[in-house]
Amino acid sequence: MVHQYKNNGYNMVLDVESGSVHVVDDLTYDVIALFENNSLEEVQSQLGQYESKDVKEAYEEVAELKDMGVLFSEDDYEDYICEFKKRPTVVKALCLHIAHDCNLACRYCFAEEGEYQGDRSLMSAEIGKKALDFLIANSGNRCNLEVDFFGGEPLMNFDVVKEIVAYGRSLEEEHNKNFRFTLTTNGMLLNDDIMEFANKEMDNVVLSVDGRKEVHDYMRPTPNGKGSYDIIIDKFKKFAEQRHQEKYYVRGTFTHHNLDFSQDVFHLADEGFKQISVEPVVGPDAEEYTIKEADLPQVMEEYDKLASEMVKRNNEGKGFTFFHFMIDLTGGPCVAKRLSGCGSGTEYLAVTPWGDLYPCHQFVGEDEFLMGNVNDGIKKDDIVSEFKATSVYSREACRDCFARFYCSGGCSANSYKLNGTINGTYDIGCQLERKRVECALMIKAAQMTEKESSNEE
């Protein structure tokens, strides 16, 4: 399957199944659109606006790439993925809900101010340690184990975070494991001691900030209705610098209220942040803040604006990373990873403050997805099986989608919340994902062109 599109002056051609990406001239772009169903003579007659010899030349180049397996390649992965999914399940990542409590009252919070359809609660060190024991016991021979401190707001229970980290470190050598801890925080309680600890122990930190002050303050107020931007922004800047502008993300959410979100990304870049993620809100359709179908043209335009500005800033030596535009064309993940789904309910589980296990953080509080707990392990194997069976091939809408090698079939939780099944897709999310892949590939093309022209100089 070939996906071709024009973006920012580039004629882009993605060979979906091989992952190869080509930039072509106008003539070849037109030839590729006709190539599969037409002979050379037919293509020449349909493209009368070009010289026949030029059409022949382009046609032959396309044929050569096809022979090389980097254009018009076939999807022959389905049996492989189905077999791959049958392998024994191991758990390699936990999302620890350290605190079902929060010191902000964000309007779009899927955790309902940290409560997740339950009561406010903090995880004890004992439960946290048992969660790590559970992880090690169920991780087979996987060496790298990930543990995210999540909430609510995890810094409301920071002493327990420290204790769990120390416990994890004490287990590594004996079990031949390497814990990669991460922390997601709104920054309200962040201080020098916490930063020092996190710089030593946290593989990644995710710092929640939505962008421009007015945007952030509207969606992320304190419980008494005041803005939180001024409380967190300088701390985040300091934190990012201490981490040498690596291994962190400032992470924002855009909503129906800031459809011009490229301005929020640029704001964060102008404030000096180099690792930026600003992502579309996901929520019930009825909520006024969600992205509506009618918003999509503007959102698409914003992604284009963002991508072309990123190319410009990169050429000026002022580049930054935008999480959703990151694509590694040469060292990225294998096909098994790309097509077998996100790992929720199998490799990745969420742990509540009282030790219950759920398929992921977004399912916490949904009673039918309660899988077991850290004391007794997984009790509902049918839930594991249900999640294990999800992949790109289990979702009908993915089969013809060019972006399926980049999103792995999308988010099961989004699907469940919108369709009542984990095996569906979230159409607005899919449309945005496709746009982001297009932009990301264009940026790669622009970088290659820039590199070539600077080599020529």
Partner: protein, 47 residues
């Protein structure tokens, strides 16, 4: 080639044989937590 510039010739098909070791990051542990993003993740075998 005169008409085509190829950004990457590496085909995903070559990852079938040795892929699937599972040592890489879980997608939601990166930054997203609300979407599924795997195309940007690093293969631990290529490090």
């Amino acid at each position: 080639m005169k008409h085509i510039k190829t950004l990457t010739n590496k085909t995903l098909k070559s990852t079938v044989k040795k892929g699937g070791c599972g040592e890489c990051q879980t997608s939601c542990q990166s930054a997203c937590k609300t979407s599924c993003t795997v195309g940007n993740q690093v293969c631990e075998n290529n490090k």
